[in-house]
């Protein structure tokens, strides 16, 4: 957005130029590019250029066994891999008619919400960096790392956990794990006011984020925006509540919304979601010890597992929005088709292209981070 005192000048034609914004650019999230046309420093045209992270996941998943795919799925979205694991597992469970034991469902919620916290902290860090606030980036990344420590104890891996498998989860929690989660939640609650001082309630940030990349409700609905980005436009929609999966219907949590629809509103929704995730996790910590039983339903031998013929369209709410897989089985040992519908497919491409127009070049990065676009999810 132009400052109020900005006066438009007639630029000579040389002021119109094209810029490859990315893939090698510090402001871009991941390995992704925008080809922008500029008039002075205002974007007049933007065209997303993806595919730098294309690995052909959908093709590869057709070549691998149902169980082998659990190693592949989390890698689709690097900063928030857990919803990928869960949505795939939910899909296979729907196809195979598998009953997930209660404990596994609660463990999945624990895992998912921790991942949401990690992803949001990471996004705060990234978003702060695009507005020049590197201290906050250091904080966000470090605090996320404490969540990764918990993931490591839980699943044996920091970033890619491969913890959820169709039918349940792979391991039960290590001893004393819930207490450590509780400690971390206490820590985060103490930490949030410090984040406020440095970032959320920072005049510089608020000034830069307010009015940047504004989405109206109609635009958001029509452009397929989901997740925190949709909620920042005042639309209270969350898959966890409106199309519930796992045990979210047994949990109490609010769906925070904002109305402005700009980068600031989106960031504030995420901040509020962090608090809701902490609230959910506190409930899980309270309930989980009382839920005994297996953590996985009996599974066939992974090498000889034919999933019954059918199709499934499982959905979850990832930290970025609506995440769906379309799974088709022909009754074979591998999927016939897996279509990954990541929220960033919308946010990082058509929405970003549209929102960039009219913003200044330095705000393009901020717009992208405020949309929490995840390029590997677009490229697959």
């Amino acid at each position: 957005m132009r400052p109020e005192n900005y006066k438009s000048v007639e630029h000579p034609p040389s002021h119109e130029y094209e810029l490859n914004f990315g893939p090698n650019h510090p402001g871009i999230e991941g390995n992704y590019a925008l080809k922008v046309k500029l008039e002075g420093d205002v974007v007049t045209e933007a065209k997303a250029d993806g595919g730098y992270l294309h690995r052909g996941f959908e093709k590869l998943m057709e070549t691998r066994l149902w169980m082998q795919n659990i190693a592949l799925v989390p890698r689709i979205c690097v900063p928030d891999p857990v919803p990928m694991e869960v949505v795939y597992s939910l899909g296979v469970e729907e196809l195979g008619g598998l009953e997930v034991p209660a404990r596994a469902q609660w463990l999945r919620v624990l895992h998912l919400e921790l991942s949401r916290i990690a992803a949001h902290l990471f996004t705060f860090g990234g978003h702060a960096a695009t507005t020049g606030m590197y201290s906050n980036m250091f904080w966000g990344v470090t605090d996320r790392d404490y969540v990764l420590d918990l993931f490591e104890q839980m699943s044996g891996g920091r970033v890619y956990h491969m913890y959820n498998v169709p039918g349940g989860v792979r391991r039960d929690l290590p001893d004393g794990f819930l207490a450590r989660v509780s400690e971390l939640l206490d820590y985060l609650e103490r930490r949030l006011p410090q984040y406020d001082d440095l970032f959320f309630a920072n005049a510089v940030f608020i000034d830069r984020a307010r009015g940047t990349g504004t989405l109206t409700q109609e635009q958001a609905l029509s452009w397929g925006v989901t997740g925190p980005n949709l909620r920042a436009c005042g639309l209270s929609f969350d898959v966890r509540r409106d199309d519930p999966y796992l045990v979210y219907d047994q949990l109490e949590f609010d769906i925070p919304t904002e109305t402005a629809g700009d980068a600031l509103a989106r960031t504030l929704v995420r901040r509020a979601e962090l608090i809701q995730s902490i609230r959910i996790l506190r409930q899980v910590i309270a309930r989980l010890p009382g839920i005994d039983g297996p953590i996985r339903c009996p599974l066939p031998n992974p090498l000889a597992w034919n999933v019954p013929m059918g199709e499934a369209y499982p959905r979850v709410e990832s930290s970025k929005g609506e995440l769906c897989f379309y799974l088709v089985s022909t009754g074979g040992d591998r999927p016939h088709r897996v279509h990954v519908r990541g929220p960033s497919s919308m946010h990082a491409v058509q929405v970003l292209e549209r929102l960039s127009i009219g913003t200044r070049i330095e705000d393009v990065a901020q717009t992208m981070f405020s949309l929490d676009a995840c390029p590997p999810e677009v490229d697959r």
């Binding site: 090698n24 052909g56 890698r75 990344v141």
Partner: protein, 251 residues
Amino acid sequence: MSEEKTFPAIPPAVSTGIACETKKDSFLQRVMDGFAEFCRARSLFILHYCTGCGAIELPPAITSRFDLERLGVSPMVTPRQADILLITGYVSIKTLKRIILTYEQMQGPKYVIGICSCTVNGGMYWNSYATAKQLNEYLPVDMYIAGCMPRPEAVQEGLKQLREKIESGEANSWEDYFKRYDHYLGNQQHLFGDDWHTPTDVIGEARHYDLLGDESLGEHTVRLEKYLQHHQELGLTNVELEPENKELMER
């Protein structure tokens, strides 16, 4: 940076006109070289380019918790100022082209680190049509760090190793790119097609650094020259063709 489409004309090759003298291995020279390497090993800039998923462990590595600045390592946004090209995992073919462009823009001495499984033997995308399998077929690699993905501590260890290697004067693989340019170019052409070219005049630079070796030129550089010559004839570019290549082409 789509080289074929957005560069209608090939920019002229770098021609410094300065003849490089052969280095004299004097005592002072050795002391100065040693000092330079000592300093170089303690001030390394990693190019800020997230080529693949392993990049997710770099923010923790460079921020407070694992603080790579303790090793004198810091991110750098431009290739010209960067020392290290850190390839974080799989490289899709589309990215690989950008990596090569970037690498050629970096100033020597420069170092390539391949982290994750994917840079070594394809990793978990071994049967993907979209990713390159062995990074060192396209670029000389100084150091590998195993993992999928390696933890920040492993990255730390890898950088320490690289630092030692630089200090002992062994990290010279960047010279290999010039000395065996034909080999690397051949692999690049195999993957990207015969009309693959970059704006950098690698052969000219090799000559400038006095690194033109027996394997710098060959059938693949000839193919490149032919392509450039064709463009020159069309008036699209103005390149001085390499005399060696002319000989090779006549044969």
